[in-house]
Symmetry: none
Subunit: 193 residues, 2 copies
Amino acid sequence: MAISANVGEKKNKVRKLEGQPSKNLMAERRRRKRLNDRLSMLRSIVPKISKMDRTSILGDAIDYMKELLEKIHTLREDDNVKDEIKDIKFVGNFKELKPNEALVKKPPKFEVERRNVDTRIEICCAAKPGLLLSTVSTLEALGLDVQQCVISCFSDFSLQASCSEAREHRTILSCEDVKQTLFKTAGYGGRCL
Amino acid sequence: MAISANVGEKKNKVRKLEGQPSKNLMAERRRRKRLNDRLSMLRSIVPKISKMDRTSILGDAIDYMKELLEKIHTLREDDNVKDEIKDIKFVGNFKELKPNEALVKKPPKFEVERRNVDTRIEICCAAKPGLLLSTVSTLEALGLDVQQCVISCFSDFSLQASCSEAREHRTILSCEDVKQTLFKTAGYGGRCL
DNA sequence: CTGTACACGTGATCC
DNA sequence: TGGATCACGTGTACA
């Protein structure tokens, strides 16, 4: 195909020499533009991006699609409750805020509540560097997708969030578990309330 | 760029004339081969093929991926159908929200602006798993302390934050730098705006 | 003859 | 310095 090579000097048609090229030229430019745009779109919806290469983008997209297909199959055939709670173990991996630093002055407020499919979370405690990051990280590790969130860090750290369960943790994770995990994440020891 | 025009026939570097061209030439050939192979693979796993165009293939792949994502979400939510009745009532109050907006492709929005001592950040882009976490993590890494923040992840990912500079050694950061960093963090390539 | 779409070789650019 | 990747303009085949 690419090796149609042979034959050297046909050149039957030399009808250009003038005026013609600009048409085909800009058409080709538009085509390249469209192709690159599509490529960018593809890259923008694929979460795992190893490199910015065109080939890598396509490769990652392919892998991602296979991943999605497999996930769908397991979701379909996996009746239920096959999930482990192993995710909880990863919560502690993040930045270990030392409990010693726990400020005892004012009783912090940690509330977790289920409403329909949503999980309402309300936190108000002493501000601390990295607290927002560790809290968000913990929520993610617990399989809670933040849908809405209002944060204020002026005096105290205040966070009100509405989350949806990313995975099938609803039946396993109790509100109390979430609350205590967040409590520890914020650097407090013992149990909350 | 394309119209760098000037310079007509310089040819400062003519170090080729022999031996060299075949190197770059075949490298380019291999690159094209890989790219086309990837493209064929992508086409082979996408069931819906409208046309054999390169652009169409990418477009179909994108649509298919979105379709898969949506299917996964519906599958997950179907696991717990018990709360749906209440949700229906809830949704009923907000009927004005367009039901089918899946195919709208709008450009993401990344804005960073300095106001006095504060740095205002506004993001609106396609939702992606882990996006909130990576964004917060990036802000922290840039030395920006979130003072106030409103987040919404219902359809797209939307974040409006007001930050203060945490450290002094980062004060050299321009708004543009912050913007581009956030842009890349969100998984986009190239430059924003 | 008019577009559209692809492969090709080459110069430029970035580690 | 090279090796790898990209954008570009062009030739050409197919509708």
